[in-house]
C-alpha cells in the first residue's frame, strides 16, 4: 500500500477528477449568529436574533442535506458561521457528517469551545480546525470583537484544543485595529504555540449590503507592508503570481464571469438552505428546501458558472489575478456589479506586484499601469515600501467620549449599500 502525503493525495485526486464537474468541496454556514460583534465581519448576526435562528436549517434538514452531498460525491466539507458553536446542536450535525465520511474542517472563533466539545472532537477527529485570533493582546482583540472577556475565552479555547493534540491552525484578518500586532502574532503562534499561522488582509462589505467593514480595511500600502515584513509570504506571492501568469498567458482567455472553482468543484450553502457559488455570492441563490442539492448543482449552479462576461473590463486580461482578490462576488458586494473592477483590490494588486517586482503586463485601460493616471503614485509607494521606509504604527486610541470602549452597533450600514441583495 503506497503512502502519500495529504497534499499529494489531494492534488492527485482532484487532478484525476478534473474533467468531471463534481461538488468535491462544500462550505456550509450553519448559522450567522455569533457572540462576537467584529466590525470587519461580512455576515455576523447577534446571538439572540430569533428571526435568523428560526430560518436556519434544522438538524433533520442538515442530515438530509449531508445524505445528498455524500451521494453527489462531496468529500471536503467546511463548517463555518457566524460561530458554529452558537448552535447547540452543532456537534450532532457534525457527528452525523463524520459518520458519512466527509473530511471536515471547522472554522470557529474559539470562544465557545469547552472541554466537552474538545473531548467530542478527540473522539470524532476533524480534518482541521482553524481559529481566528483577532489580536495578540487583550486590548487589541477586544477592540475588534467588541466583547469584554472574549480574548481570555479564545485563548482558553486554543489551549483546550492544543492540550488534546487536535489539528489546530490559527489565522487572523489584518485590519486597522490589529495591523501593528500581526508580525508578533505570527511569532507567538508559530514559535510559542507551535502551530501554523496565516493572515489575510481582504475585507469585504457585508452580505446584507452594509459597507461598514470597510471602515477597518487597511490601506493598500499597509497591506503590502505586511507582505514585505514576512519574507516567506513575499516568496509565496511571487511564486503564485508566476504560476498564474504563466497559466493565463498560455491558455485562451476565458469568457465566463466566474473563473474560480465555484460551481465546478465547490459550492456554498447558507444557514437558510440556499445554494450558491461561494459564501460571498449573495445575488444568485437556489433554495434547496424547494428542490434538492442535486437539482441545484446540476441546473442552477451550472448555469451560474456558465454566465459569460458582458463587456471587456481591465480585469479580463489582467495577469495579476494571483495577487488580487477580485471576483464577481466582490464586485457584487462593492458595487452591485459582478464585472466592475474594485478599486481597492486593483490598487493593492498593482502595488503588491510593483513592490515584489512581479511583472505587470498591460491589460487595457488601467490607471495603475504604466501611462495610467495613478501609476506614478503607486510606483513611488512601491519604491518606499521596498526601501523599508513604511512603518506599521498602532492605530490611535478610539475610546468614545462616553468612555464605553465596547459600544458597538452592528448590521447598520455605515454608508449606502450596493443594492445587490435587493433589500437596501
Amino acid at each position: 500500500m503506497e503512502t502519500l502525503s495529504y497534499g499529494a493525495f489531494s492534488e492527485a485526486f482532484q487532478s484525476r477528477l478534473a474533467r468531471q464537474r463534481l461538488p468535491l468541496n462544500g462550505t456550509i454556514e450553519v448559522t450567522r449568529r455569533c457572540p462576537l460583534t467584529c466590525l470587519h465581519c461580512y455576515n455576523n448576526l447577534p446571538m439572540g436574533d430569533g428571526e435568523a435562528r428560526g430560518r436556519e436549517l434544522d438538524y433533520d434538514e442538515h442530515c438530509r442535506l449531508l445524505d445528498e452531498l455524500a451521494e453527489a460525491g462531496c468529500l471536503w466539507l467546511l463548517y463555518t458561521g457566524g460561530e458554529i458553536f452558537a448552535r447547540r446542536d452543532f456537534l450532532d450535525i457534525y457527528t452525523y457528517a463524520k459518520k458519512k465520511g466527509f473530511l471536515i474542517t471547522l472554522f470557529t472563533n474559539g470562544t465557545m469551545i469547552t472541554e466537552r466539545i474538545a473531548d467530542h472532537l478527540v473522539a470524532w477527529r476533524p480534518f482541521a480546525i482553524e481559529i481566528t485570533l483577532y489580536g495578540l493582546t487583550k486590548d487589541t482583540y477586544e477592540r475588534l470583537t467588541g466583547i469584554p472577556g472574549s480574548f481570555d475565552k479564545c485563548m482558553r479555547g486554543i489551549r483546550i484544543l492544543l492540550d488534546r493534540g487536535l489539528p489546530l491552525a490559527l489565522k487572523t484578518v489584518a485590519v486597522s485595529t490589529n495591523r501593528h500586532e500581526i508580525p508578533a502574532m505570527q511569532r507567538f503562534v508559530e514559535d510559542e504555540l507551535g502551530v501554523r499561522f496565516k493572515f489575510d488582509s481582504m475585507i469585504n462589505p457585508r452580505v446584507d449590503c452594509s459597507q461598514s467593514p470597510l471602515d477597518v480595511r487597511l490601506a493598500p500600502e499597509e497591506c503590502v507592508a505586511l507582505d514585505l515584513a514576512d519574507p516567506r509570504r513575499s516568496d509565496e506571492w511571487i511564486q503564485f503570481a508566476d504560476a498564474v501568469r504563466h497559466a493565463i498567458e498560455t491558455k485562451p482567455l476565458q469568457d465566463t464571469v466566474y473563473q474560480c472553482g465555484g460551481g465546478v468543484t465547490s459550492f456554498a450553502i447558507d444557514p437558510y438552505g440556499h445554494l450558491s457559488i461561494c459564501v460571498l455570492s449573495e445575488a444568485h441563490k437556489y433554495d434547496i428546501r424547494a428542490g434538492s442539492f442535486r437539482d441545484g448543482w446540476n441546473g442552477f449552479l451550472h448555469q451560474q458558472r456558465l454566465r459569460t462576461v458582458t463587456r471587456p473590463t481591465k480585469c479580463v486580461a489582467c495577469t495579476l489575478k494571483a495577487v488580487c482578490g477580485m471576483c464577481p462576488a466582490n464586485g457584487e458586494l462593492e458595487s452591485g456589479d459582478p464585472e466592475a473592477p474594485v478599486d481597492w483590490l486593483c490598487h493593492t494588486a498593482h502595488l503588491r506586484a510593483m513592490a515584489l517586482e512581479i511583472p505587470v503586463v498591460p491589460h487595457g485601460d488601467c490607471e495603475y499601469c504604466e501611462g495610467g493616471a495613478r501609476h506614478a503614485d503607486v510606483a513611488g509607494a512601491a519604491r518606499r515600501l521596498r526601501l523599508g521606509t513604511h512603518t506599521i504604527e498602532p492605530p490611535p486610541p478610539t475610546i468614545a467620549k462616553d468612555g464605553n470602549l465596547f459600544l458597538r452597533v452592528v448590521n447598520v450600514p455605515a454608508s449606502p449599500g450596493c443594492g445587490s441583495c435587493g433589500t437596501h
Binding site: 500500500m1 493525495f9 468535491l24 460525491g73 468529500l75 463524520k98 465520511g101 473530511l103
Partner: protein
C-alpha cells in the same frame, strides 16, 4: 496474516471508518480513533477496490485470489501474492478482522 484459508472480512465499519465511492474511486476514510490512524486516508486502486468489495462479507484469501486472477487476467500465483500482501497491509491498519465461528 499469511493463512490463505483464514476467514476474514472488513472490521466493524460503524465504529472506525467509512468507505466512500466517488466517481469510481474508492476511499476509506477514518471516522473515530478506535482502530485506525486518523491522519490517513486510504485510496484503493481498481484491484484493491474489488478486494475491498469482496471483504464486505466473510471470505478467504484463496477465494479472493481466484476471483482477482479471473477478473484481472493475472496468473493465480501472481494474484495470490498480491492479495496476501494487500490483506496484510489492511490487517496492520485494523481494517479487516478474522471471523470466528458464529461471528
Amino acid at each position: 496474516m499469511d493463512h490463505a484459508s483464514l476467514v476474514v472480512q472488513r472490521a466493524d465499519e460503524r465504529r472506525s471508518f467509512v468507505t466512500r465511492e466517488i466517481a469510481g474511486e474508492t476511499l476509506i476514510v477514518p471516522v473515530t480513533g478506535h482502530a485506525m490512524d486518523l491522519e490517513s486516508i486510504y485510496v484503493l486502486n481498481p484491484v484493491g477496490s474489488r478486494i475491498w468489495q469482496l471483504l464486505g462479507s466473510p471470505t478467504t484469501a484463496d477465494r479472493i485470489a481466484d476471483i482477482v486472477a479471473d477478473e484481472f487476467a493475472v496468473t493465480p500465483q501472481h494474484a495470490a501474492g498480491d492479495v496476501a500482501e494487500f490483506l496484510d497491509s489492511l490487517n496492520t491498519r485494523g481494517l479487516i478482522q478474522e471471523v470466528t465461528k458464529g461471528g
